[in-house]
Point group: C2
Chain length 515, copies 2
């Protein structure tokens, strides 16, 4: 190549250059996070929101929530003025809302590459891969238990896509590593293979502490004391139970000034009522209690208000995902969360399909759009799930990543200015002529439309000549290409060595546990 | 079966009975149309809407619209006060809005079965199959030209699904029937194989007249003079051209007091500017002109404000569908239409995929949800398209029909009352217990969640044991089953004979035309 190459206009330099160009202009991907330019979709009237809040208050005051195996949590509640009877805690209406006033409405989670730090809350949207599957799948080998190499592969695939903003957490369970040591390898992989923000472990208090300690190696102890650098995703044991494992982890994160994500998992008819309004009231009650506990541990600690509603099949009693009721329910929870002025984690990309097929993307798209519409600030599970929540699929991950790309443009909305309105172009072109080569098209087409990595838009005959492949096949080819081309982002040798040492030392201190 | 069978509770009688039960309760399918219980999703500020309206007014006043091959249309415009220079018509700002005031905000389209009549406009939503593909596809035989038997099959499949409210129009082109006679066979098929509302032909004035005449045979001449019983879908030849073929059809429908659907087809960068705001302004200008022409032909005639925005691929220049920009654009057009107080046709289920795969349903779901969110009252193209707009797929039709089912529940939103809030159920169940068998679940589970015909929600092992099929395979099985079981709705013999006679006579009067 000669020197002229670097001077060529963007459209002469192919796909990558166009993407870079769009990112520079702020009209495409490659941004550290999205600032939404369309409103949230508020589906419920204020009158009905208040009725749901009142039902949540009644559940909290009359039925209460059990806090198991964590006496410190019970002490917190006693001091805060709740009624504690054994493990059961009851809350006067308004009490939790008052406690929650110390939680920040938005905060920054820092990445080791400062260009990738994300702002969580307000109008900001962060996409993070799915979390927690024991299995992985691909078209070549079907379903199998996840390994640490699968885990690393998904980090590589996320890092190499401009459509994510976060490296995630337990993307899949690395089942070839001992249960009590895998958090070390997982956090190590996030830090070394990605330079985006990430999540730590929550499955035991010491694993949460280890995760935070590894973040301190990267960011420095003083910085971590003042800034959020790691998230921990903690689940309510719905209905109305907080297990000690979770509250100990929740408190560990809060104590370190790091953000817990508080998430009930309510399968309507099983862990909650079969009616949506009741499940939403329950979700609000459970999440407010968890969020408030972070503030009792450390007032002002960042915390994210989460949500995970689902439905079930009438025929089999199986859980269903990507169905209409949880989609609408998520949008209501978004409204309730904004009334609390907390950052929101909502919904994500869910499906019960066992293949990256039409069902997977019907359900996944409905579910993911609900997360977009409800105003979620942190969208966990934005890519990869098949098989309920049980499998991470390599192909589905790529398909979902592509959808995440589309959603950047969706959230940008429509700009209205003289250039966008194009009245001059109508004067130029006139009735009955086409806009292909007109000056306005030439000046704007590079940034006009989102460009999919995986959609085949060719005419039928060309598609057929190219092998008649489906989207799953193309996704299979793309993840293999991305892994083959992957290069980890640079990391200071001293930090890398210190992380290696920490992991080695901690692994040597305990016996392997396998369940 | 003995007499007890009819007394069994709904859950003892299987799927069909459950559906009937849900329909009776108003919580499921089987309704003649949907009354939305969630608001529209208004993504644009009023300030920006006004700027788009002003741009449309400038296009109409400064650039104008050509009306070709229809001197009567030009006379209408002259009398209405527009500036007519040859074929070019220019409109003072506000003139078209004033003319449009005589158009009804909503109207009833009658079905030959009165239980299936639909209300178009306001909060009502009507799903209709896709329209206009020359090709059909199925998994067994791939792509081929559509025939009248394919056409009839799609009517049968729509009629046998509780998820549609309308029989549609040119569901696929019956290419084995002469171009100038196929409208007779199509309208005949709609009337004899379906008892829902339908659309007539628009491809020539006499074909529009024939379609309306056949409706008169069914409904009676006087009734048709006073009531809408047939729709005609007419397209602008964007940019800024109305062809005589279309305005003659448009005027034929309006003259007979029947509803024209006025639809520009704007592929950004080709038939309109590559920027969304400009394409929307153009769409508004073109549609207002078409709608206004119906009112000049017959003030008070029903008319539907349509929209069809699309994007293109940067790589190939090919049209793209189901992308984010038209999805957002449709929502803006919905807002603009409501400011005109007209019934809205918007968007539908579009994709460029050549298979009923992940791409098809990612794009289709995004596109269809935009139609739902924008407040569309009449959703043409709600099922069947693959391959851009070129093919009707039997499998995609079934997958889309299933999505239409889900959207019934989506549009129902969330009810909030004491039963739905379920506070008593929390008292009954308490912390840590499940809701499976509780009284509230038993009383509510039949109507709680939408139940898909095609999703596989089984555990992986059961799905694998059943053959590891994908959704397209299940859709293939289902359309064959539905066709095998199909029985046409009853039709009075006299009407059937009169229709047969009309079709035979009209066919005998002219030579076949094949292009």
């Amino acid at each position: 190549m000669d020197g002229k190459e670097t001077q060529a206009p963007a459209r002469g330099r192919g796909r990558q250059a166009r993407q870079a160009e769009r990112a520079r202009k702020g009209g495409g991907m490659g941004r550290p996070y999205i600032q939404r330019n369309i409103p949230t979709y508020d589906v419920m009237s204020e009158e009905n929101l208040i009725r749901i809040e009142q039902a949540a208050d009644r559940i909290l005051a009359e039925v209460g929530i059990e806090f198991r195996d964590d006496p410190v949590a019970l002490d917190h509640w006693k001091r805060a003025g709740a009624t504690v009877d054994g493990l059961l805690v009851k809350f006067e209406p308004g009490m939790l809302r008052e406690i929650l006033k110390t939680a920040p409405a938005e905060f920054t989670q820092h990445a080791r590459n400062p260009a990738n730090s994300v702002r969580i809350g307000g109008r900001n949207v962060v996409f993070s891969p799915a979390y927690g599957s024991p299995f992985v799948m691909d078209l070549d080998h079907g379903r199998r238990f996840g390994t640490i190499e699968d885990f690393r592969n998904f980090i590589r695939l996320a890092q190499s896509s401009p459509n994510f903003h976060h490296s995630g957490g337990t993307i899949c369970e690395p089942t070839d590593v001992a249960v009590n040591k895998r958090h070390l390898d997982m956090v190590h992989a996030h830090i070394t293979l990605s330079d985006r923000p990430f999540m730590g472990s929550v499955t035991a208090e010491d694993r949460a502490e280890d995760s935070i300690e590894m973040a301190r190696i990267v960011f420095g102890r003083d910085f971590v004391e003042e800034n959020c650098v790691i998230l921990g995703n903690v689940n309510v044991n719905s209905p109305l139970v907080w297990d000690g494992t979770m509250t100990l982890a929740l408190r560990a994160y809060a104590r370190a000034n790091q953000a817990a994500v508080i998430v009930p998992f309510i399968l309507g008819g099983a862990m909650g009522p079969v009616t949506s309004a009741g499940a939403i009231a329950q979700s609000l009650a459970e999440t407010m209690a968890g969020c408030a506990l972070t503030q009792l541990e450390r007032p002002g600690a960042p915390v994210i208000f989460g949500n995970f509603l689902s439905s079930m099949s009438l025929r089999s009693g199986s859980p269903t995902f990507g169905t209409p009721e949880p989609a609408i329910g998520s949008q209501v929870i978004g409204q309730l969360c904004r009334r609390l002025n907390l950052p929101l984690r909502c919904s994500g990309n869910f499906t019960t399909s066992k293949l990256p097929d039409a069902q997977a993307m019907t359900e996944g798209t409905m579910s993911m759009l609900a997360a977009i519409h409800c105003g979620a600030n942190f969208i966990l599970h934005s890519a990869g799930f098949l098989d309920g929540l049980l499998s991470m699929s390599y192909e589905k991950f790529m398909l979902d990543a592509d959808l995440c790309g589309a959603l950047h443009s969706y959230l940008d909305g429509i700009r209205v200015d003289d250039n966008q309105l194009a009245v001059d172009a109508f004067h130029e072109v006139g009735p009955g002529n086409h806009f292909f080569g007109c000056a306005h098209t030439m000046a704007n087409y590079e940034t006009a439309f989102w460009d999919s990595d995986l959609a085949d838009n060719d005419p039928f005959e060309k598609w057929e000549a190219n092998g008649s492949h489906d989207a799953a096949y193309r996704a299979n080819r793309l993840w293999k290409q991305r892994l083959a081309e992957f290069e980890p982002p640079p990391l200071e040798t001293g930090i890398r060595d210190a992380l290696d040492d920490f992991v080695a030392r901690r692994k040597s201190e305990v016996q392997d546990m396998w369940y």
